[in-house]
C-alpha cells in the first residue's frame, strides 16, 4: 500500500510540546502533515482512555509528548504521567495492542527541530507498520451489525 497515509494523533502538553510545535512552525521547519495535535494542560491530564478512543476512531499511531522531567509547569505532572505510561504500556502489550504505534517523547518549548524529528520518525514507522486494521476491525461494531426489519 504505497498510497497509505497514516493518521496520527498527538496528545501534547500546553507548556512544552505545544509551544515546541509552535516553534517548529515559526522556524519554518517542514514536517509531515499526518499529525493532528490535541493540546492538554499537562501530560498528567492525558487519560489512557483517550488513547483507546483515538485507536477506536481510526488513528494508526499516537504521539504523546510533554515537558522533560523536572520541567513540568505543575512540578510533577510528567513524573506521574510517566509512571502511568510504564504500567499502561505494559498492559497494552499484555493485551496484544501494538505498542510500537504509541510514541512517547519529551519535547521542550525550545526543541522545535526535535518535534519535527519525532513526527517524521513516527510517520515513517507507522507507514512501515501499515494501517491499524486489527484494532479498527474490532472497534467498528456498527458496520458489522446485522439490521433486522
Amino acid at each position: 500500500m504505497s498510497d497509505f497515509e497514516p493518521k496520527i494523533v498527538a496528545f501534547v502538553c500546553n507548556w512544552c510540546t505545544y509551544a515546541g510545535a509552535d516553534l517548529t512552525g515559526t522556524s519554518r521547519i517542514k514536517y509531515a502533515t499526518n499529525v493532528k495535535i490535541i493540546r492538554f494542560p499537562c501530560t498528567g491530564r492525558i487519560d489512557f482512555m483517550l488513547l483507546l478512543k483515538a485507536f477506536g476512531e481510526g488513528a494508526d499511531g499516537i504521539i504523546i509528548s510533554g515537558c522533560h522531567p523536572n520541567d513540568c509547569h505543575y512540578t510533577s505532572g510528567n513524573f506521574h504521567a510517566r509512571r502511568r505510561w510504564i504500567l499502561f504500556r505494559g498492559l497494552m502489550n499484555f493485551i496484544g495492542i501494538d505498542i510500537n504505534r504509541i510514541q512517547f517523547s519529551w519535547v521542550s518549548a525550545a526543541e522545535g527541530a526535535k518535534w519535527a524529528d519525532v513526527v517524521n520518525n513516527t510517520v515513517t514507522k507507522i507507514r512501515e507498520l501499515g494501517p491499524y486494521t486489527e484494532y479498527q476491525k474490532v472497534a467498528n461494531y456498527l458496520a458489522k451489525e446485522v439490521k433486522h426489519g
Binding site: 489512557f48 482512555m49 483507546l52 477506536g56 522531567p69 523536572n70 510533577s76 513524573f79 506521574h80 510517566r82 509512571r83 502511568r84 505510561w85 510504564i86 504500567l87 499502561f88 504500556r89 505494559g90 498492559l91 497494552m92 502489550n93 499484555f94 493485551i95 496484544g96 495492542i97 501494538d98 510514541q103 512517547f104 517523547s105 519529551w106 519525532v118 520518525n121 486489527e134 474490532v138 472497534a139 461494531y141
Partner: protein, 268 residues
C-alpha cells in the same frame, strides 16, 4: 468456629460493635455474607474454605456505615484489602474491629491497623507460581495471538459489572462506565466496549488491586479477568521494586507517588 462465634458474641454483647460481617451458609453448598446485629444470632457464623468472597467490600457501603461500628471476619485477602482501604483514607483506626483469621484458621486479634500491616509483612502480595506459569505463557505469545486471545476471552462478557460490584476497591459512587456525556464505554455487548471496559477496570485498579480474585469468582461467564490485574501486580513489582505492589499504609498509591529515576527508556 466456636471461637469465632464466641468472639462475635462478646463484641456484640459488650456493644463494642453494632454489626458483625462474616459468612453464613447459603443455598446449595455455597456460603454468603452474613450481617449479624444481635448476639443471639452468632450461631449462623461460619468460616471454612468455601468463604472466598471478599467481604471488605461492605466496609465502604453507606448502608453498612449507617448501622454503626462493624466487626469483620478477615482472612488474609480481607486483611490486605483493609490496609489498602486505609491507605486510601476509606477507613481509619477505630472505625472497625477486625477478627483476623490466619491461614491455619486461627483467630487473631489486632489492636490497630499498623499491627495488621506488620502481620502482612510476612505475607507479601505475590503472583502464585501456577498463575505465574499462565502469565508467562501469555507473555510468550506474539502480539497478534495475545490480541486474539483476549478478544476471544472477553467476547462473552455482556458487561453485567459483577466484577466491579464484587471488588472492594471499586467503591466510587459514580463509575466512569455510567457516564454518558461523553459515553466512555460503549453500551452494547461488543468486542470494543468489552475491551475498553476491561482495560479501564484494570488500569483503575493498578497498584490498588490486592489480588483477592473476587472479580473472577463473581464473573458469571468465568472470564479470567483477574489475569489483567495479576499482570499489573507483577509489572509493578518488577518496575517499582520488591514489595511495592503490597498494600502499605504510608506508601500511598503506586500511581500517586513517583521517583525521579523511574525508567524512561521508552521515551524519546
Amino acid at each position: 468456629m466456636d471461637e469465632l462465634r464466641l468472639r462475635a458474641k462478646e463484641l456484640l454483647e459488650n456493644h463494642d460493635v453494632q454489626l458483625v460481617i462474616g459468612f453464613e451458609n447459603g443455598t446449595g453448598n455455597r456460603t454468603r455474607p452474613a450481617f449479624i446485629d444481635k448476639p443471639q444470632d452468632v450461631g449462623k457464623l461460619i468460616f471454612d474454605s468455601r468463604c472466598v468472597q471478599n467481604i471488605a467490600l461492605y466496609l465502604t457501603k453507606p448502608e453498612i456505615k449507617r448501622k454503626g461500628k462493624p466487626a469483620i471476619v478477615a482472612p488474609l485477602p480481607v486483611l490486605r484489602t483493609i490496609i489498602q482501604l486505609a491507605s486510601e483514607q476509606q477507613i481509619k483506626d477505630g472505625d472497625i474491629e477486625v477478627i483476623g483469621i490466619s491461614p491455619e484458621s486461627k483467630l487473631m486479634k489486632f489492636a490497630s491497623l499498623a499491627e495488621i500491616e506488620k502481620y502482612l509483612e510476612d505475607y507479601k502480595l505475590r503472583v502464585g507460581e501456577k498463575e505465574m506459569e499462565t502469565l508467562t505463557k501469555l507473555r510468550n505469545m506474539t502480539g497478534e495471538e495475545r490480541f486474539k486471545y483476549w478478544i476471544d476471552q472477553l467476547s462473552p462478557c455482556f458487561k453485567c459489572y459483577a466484577c466491579r460490584q464484587a471488588c472492594p476497591m471499586c467503591y466510587c459512587p459514580r463509575c466512569t462506565v455510567e457516564q454518558n456525556q461523553p459515553q466512555w464505554i460503549p453500551v452494547p455487548s461488543h468486542e470494543i466496549g468489552n475491551l475498553e471496559w476491561h482495560i479501564m477496570r484494570a488500569m483503575h485498579l493498578a497498584g490498588r488491586c490486592t489480588d483477592c480474585a473476587a472479580c473472577a469468582n463473581a464473573c458469571p461467564l468465568g472470564i479470567p479477568l483477574n489475569y489483567l490485574t495479576k499482570h499489573l501486580i507483577e509489572d509493578i513489582e518488577s518496575n517499582f521494586g520488591n514489595g511495592s505492589a503490597s498494600p502499605q499504609l504510608k506508601q500511598g498509591n503506586i500511581l500517586s507517588v513517583f521517583k525521579p529515576e523511574d525508567k524512561d527508556n521508552f521515551i524519546l
